[in-house]
Symmetry: C2
Subunit: 332 residues, 2 copies
């Protein structure tokens, strides 16, 4: 009996891994001093007076099911990189490097490559080096059509520039920056409503959406690094609106006796959210607790900086305010 | 319709996450300057003249199936941490922090906690801070009994102390350090042979094994950090014997025109490997290409350092030599 007979063909995977290595190299910054293929990846620490590393780990979640239904694998790589970049951006960090974990059973080599091409593209766009990763073929855990994709990012920030959310103060404006659809959260609910309950397909065309349902749901998570990074010194704090929506992601930042009122009238959620809410008869509060509702990043900004921020970030607008109080987050 | 109806109960998971946060905090070094629950984890860079970060990502693989069959979840957390610690040790790094990714469908809260308790124990043992992670509940991707566990590690090393395998030279001794069983590789083959072909169960008792088959297969991957770290300056290079066995893990280190002869007669593989080989009728070469055969870490050492290394590391022994040649790795 050979290892190959157990469903794992190391030689076939090696060919794919060589092409993946080429994509990874195309993302390397000068700080990456290792070759691909060692037991670990080497990266110098950027010159800072007191460098702080900011690390985060996340998965794409069941948006992967949409990718499989559409037979399109390049966007989920972009999703996980941009999601991760946004997470560490909320602490003031710029990305340094990224590693991916792909687990699957029988993904075609071209699908695997497409995933990594998406990772590579997003890493280059964010100035982040794709220094490593793991591709695990596990036919006994994943069904033939299933796979999982997770990512791990490390960024850096000067210690005295770490974003400290205790600076959020009553009177601050709450500014939203538009999302590009659902981003990477709420897909379990969205799929139940759209596919199981309403009987739609990824190819369905729905009034009010400019794309097919599958294309709309696969729109890549956008990165907020470029519009926001140069403005960080003018921002008290940032909330990345991911799983948990407005409630979960804003509440965890708030200092003692400081609360936030988000005004739904402050913006018009993108049409896909209206489609999900209508077809699923989802209560308003549940929508704002699950989805980004069209605003993927929320900034907390002192009144005197508000105009500057609004003028610098396309599409940004005031969606609420910070007040005294202990109620946490209220969406009205 | 609520998010909970879609199979994801955020509130129930929050309770588990609070206990996980407590375990994580118990591993924090003074360099960790963030609280649990932000969008990213903050860790200062240890004071080094020219710090290099060493990063690695890996999964536990189908050893997870054994954990499920045994209903025992604490050891796989130890596996992934120690596996990762060993990987970056081969480049001279000591661990700084670790993040985990757990994906599942219906793991019981106590099973999730057991996994994290294993992660926490191994992190404390290795002086590594468990600074974050992601627990994703995805009933549409994972079957009720399945789960996946991956890990990401970052360590640091002074730039001029990065282990550079080009120092491997003809005449060097090849020294093996004992493993604690299969570690984290070769489980697809082992399970096919032991369970599917030979019809054994995890509760089976086999002549020559001191534990039940399940206990033997679940033995945690050992960490080589403590026995090896203080000796790194005396070692030319290290190969962590993981997937790919002796061939894959040694060959990738070898400089041009340098080859390695591993002598099987140099040690006696632990009994579990004999059981797998016999029951599966697995060719010798395939065994050494898939398993660690009882030697989980291999060191390349100049002749004059050999006695010092052998005297300092319990159980270590010479298992081969470095020679001129282009054949790569030969196991004879």
């Amino acid at each position: 009996m050979l290892y190959r007979d157990a469903g794992v063909d190391i030689t076939a995977m090696d060919a794919v891994k060589r092409r993946i290595a080429g994509i990874a190299r195309s993302t390397f910054s000068p700080g990456v001093i290792s070759e691909v293929g060692l037991f670990g990846s080497l990266c110098r620490v950027p010159k800072l007076r007191d460098p702080v590393l900011v690390a985060s780990c996340d998965g794409v979640g069941t948006k992967l099911v949409i990718a499989r239904l559409c037979g399109r694998y390049d966007t989920v790589g972009i999703d996980i990189v941009n999601h991760s970049v946004n997470d560490i951006l909320t602490l003031g960090a710029r990305p340094l490097f990224f590693l991916d974990y792909i687990a699957h059973s029988k993904l075609k080599p071209e699908s695997l490559l497409a995933i990594v091409q998406g990772l590579g593209k997003a890493c280059r766009d964010n100035g982040c080096s794709l220094v490593g990763g793991e591709t695990a073929m596990m036919p006994d855990i994943y069904r033939p059509h299933d796979f999982d994709l997770a990512g791990f990012i490390v960024g850096t920030v000067e210690r005295n520039k770490v974003i400290d959310a205790t600076r959020i103060s009553p009177g601050d404006a709450v500014i939203g920056i538009p999302s590009s659809g659902l981003h990477t959260n709420g897909y379990s609910l969205a799929r139940r409503v759209l596919f199981d309950k309403a009987g739609l397909k990824v190819s369905s065309r729905i009034k009010g959406l400019t794309r097919s349902l599958g294309e709309e749901l696969l729109r890549p998570h956008r990165s907020y690094l470029k519009p926001v990074y140069s403005l960080l010194s003018r921002i008290h704090a940032l909330a990345h609106i991911t799983g948990g929506g407005f409630y979960g992601n804003i509440a965890r930042l708030l200092p003692h006796e400081v609360s936030v009122i988000v005004k739904k009238s402050g913006w018009r959620p993108s049409p896909i959210f209206g489609v999900i809410q209508r077809l699923g008869n989802v209560p308003d509060e549940e929508m704002y607790r699950t989805f980004n509702m069209g605003m993927g990043m929320v900034l907390f900004v002192a009144p005197k900086q508000t105009d500057r921020i609004l003028g610098s970030i396309p599409g940004s607008r005031v969606i609420g305010k910070v007040v005294r109080g202990t109620f946490g987050v209220s969406v009205v």
